[in-house]
């Protein structure tokens, strides 16, 4: 067996005339945390559903744990933990019942599941909520329960589709902490996200997807290094003057992006750029110096921003 748990070549998914995944190549190694970053409709979820062995590919090849998901769906799914984009917990059952029932689907014995539930309630910080109906849980708790549920069978690969979308900042941080612990324990993670901060925190390596294709692949730091500068200066002149000002600003930085509400000036030392333009008598309404992020990488690769 190779050390790659997932290996895809020319993977394609069509729905009628629409191409959701347009022939992509990628692999995921054991113990790795692999991310699919891209805007809504980039083909991330379709790719995830193929890896989860629930949706069949229409072209190309993919091996998951050395098996073809079109032929061995149930055998592959026995080794996966899936956290879908939309929680599909049974809201009428309690926290504990949800975990128990799900464990049964994997054919696990009651005694094994019962022990496992204690461990998972602790991990998901839901010990006090064990007898509470899922209906009554907050969004963050539901998400943690969904993750705990996916771990009931001790999967080889944990798949998370937009794990923190729709959560408030505090709930997101709790969740990231939990996922980071799993990563430390050596669980292989496959994550889709359209949040660059999430991708930067959780992924060892990621692919940037757009319109069903992979635009780039590297570690978060590697992508930033290749496709962006160290820092960015964001300046605003008011939406009417941005385009006009960009002509004057061009010469002061390596690359410039004009967005409807602001201008992004890429340079390794953004502070210095700001000093320079002020010396030239250019005074933006607001200015901000920040580090480059995956958002900038995405902008560079596609000419569009991630969250539209």
């Amino acid at each position: 067996m190779t050390t790659n748990l997932i290996q895809a070549h020319g993977l394609t998914k069509r729905y009628g005339d629409f191409v959701a995944v347009a022939g992509i190549d990628f692999h995921v190694a054991k113990g790795e945390s692999f991310g699919l970053l891209g805007p809504n409709g980039a083909g991330k979820s379709s790719t995830m559903r193929i890896i989860a062995a629930t949706s069949q590919r229409t072209g190309g090849d993919i091996k998951i744990l050395d098996k073809d998901p079109n032929l061995h769906g149930p055998q592959i799914r026995a080794h996966l933990g899936v956290v879908p984009q939309q929680d599909n917990l049974d809201t009428e059952l309690t926290v504990e019942q949800n975990l128990f029932v799900y464990g049964r689907y994997f054919g696990l014995s009651s005694s094994f599941i019962k022990n496992k539930i204690e461990e998972l309630l602790d991990f998901a910080q839901l010990v006090e909520k064990r007898d509470v109906k899922v209906d009554a849980l907050s969004g963050g708790m539901k998400r943690r329960l969904t993750i705990a549920r996916a771990l009931i069978s001790e999967p080889d690969i944990l798949m998370l589709d937009e794990p923190t979308t729709g959560l408030d900042p505090q709930a997101r941080h709790i969740l990231w902490d939990r996922l980071f612990r799993l990563k430390e324990q050596g669980v292989t993670l496959v994550i889709t996200t359209h949040y660059m901060d999430e991708a930067e925190q959780l992924c060892d390596r990621l692919v940037v997807m757009d319109k069903g294709k992979i635009m780039a692949e590297d570690s978060p730091a590697g992508l930033i290094k290749t496709y962006s500068t160290k820092e960015v200066l964001e300046v605003r002149f008011g939406s009417e003057r941005n385009a006009e000002m960009s002509e004057k600003l061009k010469q002061h930085c390596e690359r410039i992006e004009v967005l409807p509400d602001r201008i992004l000036m890429y340079a390794d030392d953004a502070e210095k750029v700001l000093e320079e333009i002020i010396k030239q008598g250019i005074h933006p309404i607001t200015s901000l110096v920040r580090r480059s992020s995956l958002e900038d990488v995405f902008l560079r690769l596609t000419g569009r921003s991630l969250i539209e």
């Binding site: 989860a52 629930t54 949706s55 069949q56 769906g73 149930p74 055998q75 799914r77 026995a78 080794h79 996966l80 899936v82 879908p84 939309q86 599909n88 917990l89 049974d90 809201t91 009428e92 059952l93 019942q97 029932v101 799900y102 049964r104 689907y105 994997f106 054919g107 696990l108 014995s109 094994f112 461990e119 549920r149 996916a150 771990l151 069978s153 001790e154 799993l182 324990q185 669980v187």
Partner: protein, 267 residues
Amino acid sequence: MSITTEPKVVKPYGALYVAEYRIRNMMRFKALIVMVSIGNPFLYLLSIGVGVGALIDSNNLIDGVPYLTFLAPALLANAAIAGGMDETVFPTLHGFKWGKIFFGINSTPITGSQIAIGVFLAAMARVVFLVTIYWIVLYLFGALETSYSWLAIPTAIFAGACFAAMMLALAAKMENDNLFFTFISRFVIMPLFLFSGTFFPLSAMPIYLQWIGWISPLWHATELGRFLTYGREISNQMLFLHVAFLSVILIVGLFFAVRYYTRRLAK
């Protein structure tokens, strides 16, 4: 996580796990289910069986037996059908649409066919329970004349199974739940209930309405029930036809249920 202590093999009893979950879910309403299972036959038998029966019996007997006796097998089969529908339509709509839990189940080794069969089996457990109670109530009301009238229990369950299978397929196929309720319940279920020889013999209806009975599992099951509970005279050929019709409906229903479940999950 800790070291795996259980081997990861795909077990063949997936449908049973799903049925286990469904029954666990029903158990939340166990008091209600028991109450309805006992209360329903009482109300029906008192109002229509005894009440309407008194009116009819004072004029003439239907099929040579008291009205209550004539009506009993139809009510039994109808109860099975209603129970079978309840436990297939709502779980299917909930599983695919309202709560999407089938997609969660399908992320485990469980397949679409196993989910369909599991929901079906759990529905049948409910049907077996309620038909048995119904039969006991009929017995207490003195509506059963033969010594082997308990054989009407399996035929009523058979009818419930047919409807459960068909509804399983339909509810999985029709993605618009509003359409499902308005169309199916008003234009299919209601006419079948009224025109399946339930309250009066099919032969008493105009010929152009009798076909509804012929395509209705309720009528076929009711005829079998009447044969078994008071010995209505039915030829062997007709008995065979009733059983054959119900069998075909059951098999075709399950075939499409499995197919539509699998397809909808793989979308």
